[in-house]
């Protein structure tokens, strides 16, 4: 009976949304990374499905209706880009070269570590887009033959980690320029880094939001080369 009811689309939708809302409340009271609403909702949904012995496919009957909004939400990132285009024009060289160098360097690191740990092609493709926003990372991972759900997990972890360590890193390295801080947060830890960047200041927030989109585009452009590297080494 449980399985039959769980296959109803409303089950998956209600389960996901309610856990997300609970996560939001918990995070407001105790702002620890585990209670980041997305992290909390994913972990608790898995725990509940496993406990009740409900297969992922039944849950996804409802889940797919949430999932389908990712594409229009990604398209809507164009609005953010358009609104912040003036910030980009002012520091275009610094921002574009910073992101370009960052993305190339990030690819090299991923390939080197994947070789070190003897990951297979699938895992390397899963990790390649990890610093960009989930929507774009999902698309890139799928088109390179990675494991989509693992990419989501790695991207979320990257975001949580970046938001926590970003400010400390800037202190250590004496990065005080607000534009540099914002670009680093957005390109290194996407939307979750941006949430932190908004707390740091208006310029940081706007630059971070802009950098999410630019880094996403840079990773998409670099993806064919990433694929070549992966096929060459693995």
């Amino acid at each position: 009976m449980i399985e039959e009811l769980a296959s109803n689309p409303f089950f998956g939708i209600i389960l996901s949304v309610s856990l997300y809302l609970i996560g939001q409340r918990l995070h407001k009271r105790w702002p620890i990374p585990l209670f980041t609403p997305l992290v909390f909702a994913i972990i608790m949904t898995i725990v509940i499905l496993l406990t009740l012995n409900i297969p992922y496919a039944s849950y996804f009957n409802g889940g797919q209706y949430i999932n389908m909004w990712i594409t229009p939400a990604t398209v809507a990132l164009a609005i953010k880009l358009k609104k912040n285009i003036e910030h980009l024009k002012k520091n275009v060289t610094a921002i574009l070269s910073g992101i370009g160098i960052g993305v190339i360097f990030h690819t090299v690191i991923i390939v080197m570590l994947s070789l070190l740990f003897q990951f297979n092609e699938e895992l390397a493709a899963t990790l390649f887009p990890k610093s960009v926003t989930t929507a774009i990372a999902l698309g890139v991972s799928e088109s390179l033959g990675g494991i989509a759900s693992l990419t989501v997990a790695v991207v979320v972890f990257t975001g949580v980690l970046g938001a926590v360590i970003g400010p400390t890193l800037f202190n250590w390295l004496n990065v005080t320029d607000p534009v540099a801080q914002g670009v680093a947060m957005g390109s290194g830890s996407h939307a979750m880094g941006t949430t932190k960047a908004i707390e740091m200041g208006d310029v940081q927030g706007a630059m971070s939001g802009l950098s999410i989109v630019l880094t996403g585009i840079a990773v998409v452009i670099l993806a064919p080369f990433g694929l070549m590297l992966i096929q060459l080494f693995f």
Binding site: S16, P37, A41, N91, V152
Partner: protein
């Protein structure tokens, strides 16, 4: 009705992006192509900001919730994760730290260099023709 019209545009660009992605010889996610198309449309005033703004910002501001089903898919991959979980943690930690540090330092260095140059230019005396002397 307004929201329906706005969603209509977002869905139309989503589908246009998917169509382009299907036709394109290289693997580019349709969502990203849709985003580029939408940006061009806004930039060249083919559609106005007001025609997509509310629904679009509502979606981007609440994006995190959309990734729950994809993330829950992890439960179908426990086999792979259990064998490499600590290596994955190291990869994420090292690559994220270095990425943020490198981008922060690079962008700051380039901005400072540009400011220094700008300051030098304005300090350079004008030549007799009234042009700045820059080498």
């Amino acid at each position: 009705m307004k929201i329906i019209k706005q969603l209509f545009w977002l869905f139309t660009f989503s589908f246009a992006g998917e169509v382009l992605s299907y036709l394109s010889p290289v693997a580019v996610p349709g969502s990203v192509l849709g985003m580029v198309l939408m940006f061009l449309a806004l930039q060249f005033n083919w559609i106005k900001m007001e025609q997509v703004e509310e629904a679009g910002e509502w979606l981007t501001n609440n994006m995190a919730i959309l990734f729950i089903p994809a993330g829950v898919g992890l439960m179908t991959n426990f086999g792979i994760i259990s064998s490499v979980w600590w290596q994955l943690l190291i990869v994420v930690f090292v690559s994220t730290t270095l990425m943020i540090a490198l981008v922060g330092v690079t962008v700051q260095a380039i901005i400072r260099k540009a400011h220094k140059k700008a300051a030098q230019v304005s300090e350079t005396p004008l030549s007799w023709k009234g042009e700045r002397v820059v080498d």
